[in-house]
């Protein structure tokens, strides 16, 4: 199984960041403490990079099924943070045999994550 991955879109909330912090045991205050985060260069909380990356994982599993679980490869750079209230969209463009350029962008078109996904050593 490996169809063209369909985009996954999600709007982030502060409550979701708290739930992800609990699930991943990552309670870094930049993600969960608005008062702390206001005093940082970000000016407010930002989403965990792995939370945003999860949209790409969700998209790839939906397209590739079990092939993604045993044989999937993902290599990305986190380029910009997502914030509560942002709507983020993961998408994929074919770039070879069972390989895709992947990215996650916000509603303003800013690329937050970009990289490559493949299955079974895809080219």
């Amino acid at each position: 199984m490996s169809a063209q991955p369909a985009p996954v879109t999600r709007t982030l909330s502060q409550e979701q960041l708290h739930r992800y912090a609990d699930a991943s045991r990552d309670h870094n205050p930049i993600h969960v403490d608005p008062e702390f985060a206001r005093a940082t260069p970000f000016g407010g909380t930002i989403a965990h990079g792995m939370l945003v990356l999860a949209t790409i994982g969700e998209m790839m599993f939906a397209a590739c099924g079990d092939d993604w679980l045993s044989g999937g490869r993902l290599k990305v750079r986190f380029k910009a943070p997502a914030r509560p209230g942002d709507t983020v969209a993961a998408s994929a463009t074919p770039s070879g045999e069972r390989a895709w350029s992947v990215q996650c962008a916000n509603e303003r078109g800013e690329v937050l994550i970009e990289g490559r996904a493949s299955i079974g050593g895809g080219s």
Binding site: D22, A23, S24, N28, F61, D66, L69, R73, K75
Partner: protein
């Protein structure tokens, strides 16, 4: 565990070996993860690979801490085999690369997550952390 009991990632030299750590991703933990990320896929008794990586990163942070201002700048993951729900997982890792630039230390942590004696996931996490002088 407080940060004072751990070592800053910025202080770890290239080649530093992370002590093996074990953790379990049981059904409740995976459901909490899927709920938090909003993923409605049915993984059919397997652990979503990025859930295992996220919990692996948590296990790493029981041994090292990220100084204030640290950024997760890159992630690579290879899924070698599916991980069944409830499997006891063992994480081993090391500092594969370390460089300094403009007051920041850039560390690449390479780690494997294994179950039943076989590697299930290989991952490389890049962290940019303020150096001692930053």
């Amino acid at each position: 565990m407080t940060s004072s009991a751990r070592t800053s990632i910025a202080a770890l030299p290239r080649g530093h070996e992370i002590a093996p750590a074990t953790f379990v991703l049981a059904d409740a933990g995976v459901r909490a993860y899927l709920d938090a990320v909003g993923d409605a896929n049915d993984y059919g008794g397997s652990v979503p690979p990025l859930a295992a990586v996220a919990l692996g990163l948590a296990a790493l942070q029981e041994q090292l801490y990220l100084p204030e201002g640290s950024l997760h700048t890159g992630q690579e993951v290879e899924h070698q085999q599916a991980i069944p729900l409830g499997a006891e997982l063992t994480l081993t890792g090391r500092v594969a690369q370390r460089s300094e630039r403009q007051g920041f230390v850039i560390s690449v942590i390479e780690f494997e997550i294994a179950h039943a004696g076989a590697t299930a996931i290989r991952a490389r996490t890049t962290i940019m952390a303020p150096g001692a002088g930053a």
